[in-house]
């Protein structure tokens, strides 16, 4: 059961993004209104840096810039003693088109951020001195060839994982395929190289987010297009491992994604009461039902492990005919690409923090596998 309380937003125009800080104590919003002159165009996104760097925000805008802001507490001498205000520390002007997303990198990478623009370029900046937020240097420029709409850093701080960034494109032409690209940092070349393209995503992507990594060896990525899809990315080093992993995974239970809550506007001010019931939010958007679909094979170093066949009588069984027969025992066929997707009127999407059951409920941990 969800309960909502409201606070008045101080914006006079459409709000584009909201963001909680790390502790969930402060929030930032950005909009198209020009009442506070932060940018000279609509501000699309706003995001907080990790509090280890202080109170720092980044914003990006239609005016082709991204900006970094710092909260200053007034010095004891001047009138603003004890009061805090926000100061723009730097403006990043390298983009020639609207900057559509800005995200700070995980804190173990230092004070680093990435921006993406409508011109299809992802730029990664670093501030070598965390106490001096006016000095940022452009470290990488990654060309995505398609207009970019969203980025997400892989939050994993494990040494086993190189820095990784996923980029989504809202290019609406039907021919282009690479709507989601994943880039990984290569220690040897000291550059970001494309690691994977998710070929099955053909609709414009509005938002993208990695899940927190709880010590897994693989990654989970969610993508918001006209529905919401969840991918698992598993790094594979040696081909031999494929066999082992295929067997391992089919023996273990794979969690299923289910919509457990819906937030919907009702258009008029009422007491936003909800019905009784139990739910865990998975991804807060309009997700009426879930589909399961499998597509053709993937390419690249990553493969997407096969799903257990749904059990008879389960919600999934009506889509059973879409599933190919379970892969035969070794040698396995080229591993299929697996995604869970749900219909949605699109969503701006962030990963819930780990306690927000992005697992399904414990309905599923049952060993019976009655087959399709």
């Amino acid at each position: 059961m969800f309960v909502a309380r409201s606070i008045a937003a101080d914006h006079k125009d459409l709000i584009h993004d909201v963001s909680f800080d790390f502790h969930g104590r402060r929030m930032a919003t950005c909009s198209s209104d020009q009442s506070v002159k932060t940018h000279s165009g609509s501000v699309w996104r706003v995001t907080w840096a990790h509090p280890e760097f202080g109170q720092v925000l980044a914003s990006c805008s239609f005016d082709r810039t991204a900006a970094v802001w710092e909260e200053i507490v007034g010095e004891s001498n001047d009138k603003l003693r004890g009061q805090s205000h926000w100061v723009k520390r730097t403006t990043l002007v390298d983009s020639r088109t609207s900057v559509t997303d800005v995200k700070f990198a995980p804190k173990h990478m230092g004070l680093m951020l990435a921006t993406c623009s409508a011109d299809g370029i992802v730029r990664i900046y670093e501030a070598p001195d965390v106490m001096n937020l006016s000095q940022w240097s452009l470290q990488h420029e990654i060309s995505c060839k398609l207009s970019c709409s969203c980025i997400s850093w892989n939050p994993s701080s494990s040494r086993a994982h190189s820095p990784m960034i996923a980029v989504g494109s809202d290019d609406s032409s039907p021919n282009t395929m690479a709507k989601v690209q994943i880039f990984e940092y290569n220690e040897n070349t000291r550059k970001y190289a494309k690691a994977e393209t998710l070929m099955t995503v053909t609709d414009p992507v509005h938002d993208i987010a990695f899940a927190p990594n709880l010590g897994r060896s693989f990654h989970i990525l969610a993508i918001a297009t006209k529905d919401v899809r969840i991918f698992t990315l598993k790094p594979v080093r040696v081909l031999i491992m494929l066999m082992y992993l295929a067997v391992f995974l089919s023996a273990n239970y794979m969690d299923n994604w289910k919509c457990t809550g819906i937030l919907k506007g009702n258009g008029s001010p009422v007491n936003g009461s909800s019905q009784q019931g139990s739910s865990n939010p998975s991804l807060g958007s309009n997700i009426p039902n879930l589909q399961n679909s499998l597509n053709g094979s993937s390419a690249g170093r990553y493969f997407f492990p096969p799903l257990d066949s749904p059990r008879a009588g389960s919600r999934w069984s009506s889509y059973a005919q879409l599933l190919p027969p379970p892969p035969p025992p070794p040698p396995p066929p080229p591993p299929p690409l697996v995604e869970h997707s749900c219909d949605a009127d699109t969503a701006s999407l962030q990963y819930p923090h780990p306690h927000r059951g992005y697992f399904s409920r414990p309905l599923n941990p049952l060993p019976e596998n009655e087959g399709v």
Partner: protein, 611 residues
Amino acid sequence: MEELDGEPTVTLIPGVNSKKKQMCFDWGPGEMLVCETSFNKKEQPEMVPNCPFIYIIRKDIDIYSKILRKLFNESHGIFVGLQRIEEELTGKSRKAQLVRVSKNYRSVIRACMEEMHQVAIAAKDPVSGRQLSSQVSILSAMELIWNLCEILFIEVAPAGPLLLHLLDWVRLHVCEVDSLSADVLGSENPSKHDNFWNLPGNTQTLTELELKWQHWHEECERHLQDGTFAASPHLESLCKIMLGDEAALLEHKELLSNWYHFLVTRLLYSHPTVKPIDLHFYAQSSLDLFLGGESSPEPLDNILMAAFEFDIHQVIKECSIALSNWWFVAHLTDLLDHCKLLQSHNLYFGSNMREFLLLEYASGLFAHHSLWQLGVDYFDYCPELGRVSLELHIERIPLNTEQKALKVLRICEQRQMTEQVRSICKILAMKAVRNNRLGSALSWSIRAKDAAFATLVSDRFLRDYCERGCFSDLDLIDNLGPAMMLSDRLTFLGKYREFHRLYGEKRFVDAASLLLSLMTSQIAPRSFWMTLLTDALPLLEQKQVIFSAEQTYELMRCLEDLTSERPEHGEPDAQQLQDDDIETTKVEMLRLALARNLAGAILREGSLEGS
């Protein structure tokens, strides 16, 4: 087996126009931000007025209930106690201990129920009164289910005692009909009934009992056949009831509050020595007969039925769906796991169902400003993912007060979560620096073992000193102790302060040596040398000679080092020229003082000790 979920619940957000607009959102550690927006960036928005609100959405509202909080607190104690005695639980006493734990949990539920009931009655506002009453009935259902699980799974009552336990169970939860049932269902021979069932201390075996009962049953039947009660339909009906005639029982359906009451009554009179494995037959038929095709089973009925079928997983599954938080399934599953009743069902990455439920429950607690402390212990007892979950959650706890921060840090340090300690201290140190609380920043940097940041803060201290001529937070700097070694700059700061102390205590010779050593040992930053030399001036100008000749030569060398290094200025402006002037004057004064001191030192050393 059939899939059980209902449709996901829909929560309405007032003021947001879902037809024309969309919503953007962000997850926080405990809540979610939602706001109306439009993803169509290219078009000019139609003149549809925007929703002026930002919504903060909260899911686990139960943790904010004052009364339920007691449930969480007390059950936490029971939970931790159970984990701790696990090793000691052996042999025969094990079962008894586990039953005791189960009863403890139940008594906590009942206490909570009682309290909530009182508040519900006293509630002035009918809406909240209704809400509380509904909460009471949920708690009552929880206790009902738990009690049944205790009888069937934990107590593992065998045939014979099983029915006794079930009788107690029904009596406890159907108390309002108790008086009536006594009248209708057993008034004929209550004493006979009680004695018959006086099992504690009863040394009869089950077979003996069964034989006895069979005999009595046959006698009753004979009475009925013979028409002994023909004169009184009431008595005849009673007799039929006591023979377990279902139709007769159902005629008095209004006195039986529910199907499990019916079930137990039936069993009492027709199959008192029912075996556990046969229960579910009778349960199913009781349910069907009682509902009579008029209504369908409710979630509670399904849960109880699953219990009668000894399908633990189904019980847990259904409870998870029906209940609004994880408290019940987490604790019950944990207890059943201790009873070794759950086969290990490996989830995705190796944790089992018990752990999954505990993780979900504990995660929910972290959204609360004080209940998070309970969550820590639950994570501790999740061997697979508990630690990493704790690491992720504990960093997000807002550290509004120093006390809270220290509490969090203590928890991290106890578990050797060094990265979290470092991160939290760093966050606090940074906050302190931004608010110009240098002492606090320094102590957090030291605790974080962050040498770089300690250097930074020390630099600020020194800068402050240069600007204001005095130190802040003297207490802290004076008592650094071995922490001083964390960074060179910090060591310098500590030693420099020591110099000032020595000077204040008029221990000039010691102060002088220290001052010199600060420069010669290279721990003083170059930029500070001028200040140090200026500090030496008063020592040089004392009547008595403090610096020895040797030391004076050293000082001179330092001064020359410093002055020879001065970079050429590009285009000196007025301010710079003025600064240069001051610098030159200082240097001149120093040179003079040093020269005079040297002279005095040589004289003294020449005459006193004959070098």
